[in-house]
Symmetry: D2
Subunit: 254 residues, 4 copies
């Protein structure tokens, strides 16, 4: 499992979400409270947007987030109106930057917390289903990156809700298999999306904040606590979109 924290609103230093709150993403990397594994030490990443540029900046490394002084500096110095950060807990294999979230393609960035339990069995067919241009962007080996590229192939840019609806049948495991868990946060630089789904109903957690001091709002795996604002759990099977401070919800019937 992994932990995610994202923000949309007026420019704030990244540290206000990522490293400073009492239960910041950095804190969650060591002491997650709503995940089966409390430690997320298998790499981290950060995508942030500038209003005058389409493509986000991307910073990823294989160290635990808590051990990286560069991350502390970056979060202190860089301000942005939209950003997503992720700390990773891998269940297997060696950590590489290419397998760290967020994944980025054009204006889009994407973070995932969950698992496609039968990914080994469907990896080839998902791979084969990608258009050439997206196939060429594949850099790592994770199910998460494959989900992102597949969403793009299914029209994420035009209709995110429809892309999710088309995705779910493709990655839902056969009856009797371990459950699909899919909690994801993604952005095109203007809107911030959050979505949770699990084939057995047990979705990884995801919350949205009320209005923060900055006037913006956050979406995170666990409430960042120190903000004087209420946090609400997001409903499963519903695509939430944060845009200009307003949260809209679209039902995704799988």
């Amino acid at each position: 499992m992994c932990r995610i924290a994202a923000y949309q609103g007026p420019d704030i230093p990244l540290e206000r979400i990522v490293t400073r709150p009492a239960h910041s993403l950095l804190s969650q990397s060591r002491h997650a409270t709503e995940a089966p594994i409390p430690v997320n030490g298998d790499g981290f990443g950060l995508a942030w947007y500038r209003p005058d540029m389409t493509e986000p900046g991307l910073y990823r490394d294989v160290l635990p987030a808590w051990a990286d002084a560069n991350l502390q500096n970056l979060c202190r110095m860089v301000s942005a109106p939209v950003f997503i950060a992720h700390v990773r807990a891998s269940t297997m294999g060696e950590t590489s930057r290419a397998n760290c979230h967020p994944f980025v393609s054009g204006a889009w960035s994407f973070c995932h917390n969950g698992q496609v339990p039968h990914f080994a069995a469907i990896r080839r067919s998902m791979d084969a289903a990608l258009p050439d241009a997206l196939h060429a962007q594949r850099q790592g080996t994770t199910d998460s990156e494959m989900i992102f590229l597949t969403l793009l192939a299914l029209g994420l840019a035009d209709d995110p809700a429809q892309a999710l609806r088309a995705l779910l049948p493709r990655i839902t495991p056969p009856a009797g298999a371990a459950p699909l868990r899919l909690t994801c946060v993604f952005s095109d630089g203007a809107r911030m999306f959050g979505f949770r789904h699990a084939s057995d109903g047990a979705c990884p957690s995801l919350y949205v904040s009320g209005r923060l001091d900055s006037g913006g709002r956050a979406i995170a795996s666990e409430p960042l606590c120190c903000q004087t604002t209420a946090w609400e759990a997001l409903e499963p099977d519903t695509l939430y979109c944060l845009s200009h401070g307003t949260l809209t919800a679209t039902r995704i019937t799988p």
Copy 2:
């Protein structure tokens, strides 16, 4: 806090201690049961000896041990009659190889689990007390490396018990300060030593195994479990020496 595992006896693959047992050092790096912090993800290291060479091999990296495929390979392929491994939990600062244990000097290797609470206050004077040759070997910034170099300066090679006796007053904090915690395992390639001490009596754990299947014995922060042999907790303030399968104990009155 950190976790340590060491072995002395007939040649065995390192994996028999480091990566394969049910509660191997690798397992303890994620799920330590007798330490205040269960995760030791701030680097690791390994020193191993060859009968025909004086200086041990040293392998250290800043990744969590569980994320390093090289470590798995090394432990599977390399056999040794004497070796020490360490996984690190840092309380502060950036991880660097120079701050990972074991530390090595000539034939000696040294691992530490504990803290010198007032190290910032005594670092300069400890530094100044080192002979030139040892001072020149200092590569990092930890209290652990400084303890090792100081032990060498105090005659570790000639009389380990006496060196420890001379060390303790130099690093014991003043009354009212946080306690000194000093659990260490060290070797000259022939003998394996273990020692625990705390100024408040609450020493980090350390155990010695009975005779393992290989005929050798292990010293470890926590029993490796899967071995069909009893483990005994080492008494505080006593220097244990494992040599040719025999354990001797020397009282260290501080």
Copy 3:
């Protein structure tokens, strides 16, 4: 371009080939003399065999070889009868361990120096042509790993010469494109193979030594110099096999 050094014969410390000779692989990583780029600082790797184990050990990292103290230690401490080492010069992209050579599958290890100029165009079809079991082993994004998996699919284990003959038409670029360059060294733990080919005749260099002091022989991108033994350039389009100190050659007509 990259540099390769390999050995077969009686057990020797890896340092005798990798780090100690005047023009060792380590030296070639900084000062290659027969390559268009003299610096090979984009990661390195090492595969070595034990007589009593089928699968080789694998050690790879993304640092320049010259900056890795672990590599120095490993090469000093570990002896083997068969091993391959590689230093990498990447023309593009971020370095990851998964893209460092050697690649390993079962008993086989494989290093490559060269390029498939139109790899982006044929990557999908090469990918699709792999059997499931080999497809599942793909960890990185390089043409080199794909060549290795394709050779395995084409029967490398049964008939290496035939596998190479079948490979070449699959990766030869169309007329007018940049040339294919393929110099590779690979082993099954008993035999060491070397092969050079280029669609324009300009193959990356590859040499075989005479009998070294140890009684074994080496294959390397550039002579290691300090050995008191003659080095011969290997002929292009010929598969060389070093086994029990004897070199045999098989013509590969593409």
Copy 4:
């Protein structure tokens, strides 16, 4: 030897100095033309200032600069009015972040290109001469960091020229020894300083640009070329100070 590039003037994206020019610092990391070693692959670093913050941001890593996608992203996304970047060529030892430049203390950042040939002999006395507060900041083992801390101890913040004058006798080698080489660039966030000195007159190169398109000016080990502006070599034994676009020079008689 190392390569340095720095900027002062109106805000520009870091990439305009670090990664984009034809002979950018990134290009110099692979193909330095005015240094004895053309490759600077032993780590890199970046310090940049925000007008509203005293302490600079710091980003350092041990990879070669050319292999770090994070650096590319950072330089594309971050703009600053004052920044220094450095690529490192180490002559010995393992690379660690603590030994990468720039070094930072409070508002000051410092990069060095050169060598104190007898540093091993004077390291202890330089160490002993540091006030406690600066001694406690020492993180690595380089002569460069020691020079920086010593300059601070000698009053860098009050009178940089005087601090340099006081420094030189402390680090000048005895007659007959290898020469001292000291080319350094440093900043307090408002002013950018450059200085070259060598005890044998053979200083590492350092240039200042004329007015760039942005209206600012750069100081660099080698001209960045693509700028349509003349570059001048800085005179040895002269402290240059770039402030609000004006360059002043102060003679440093050693």
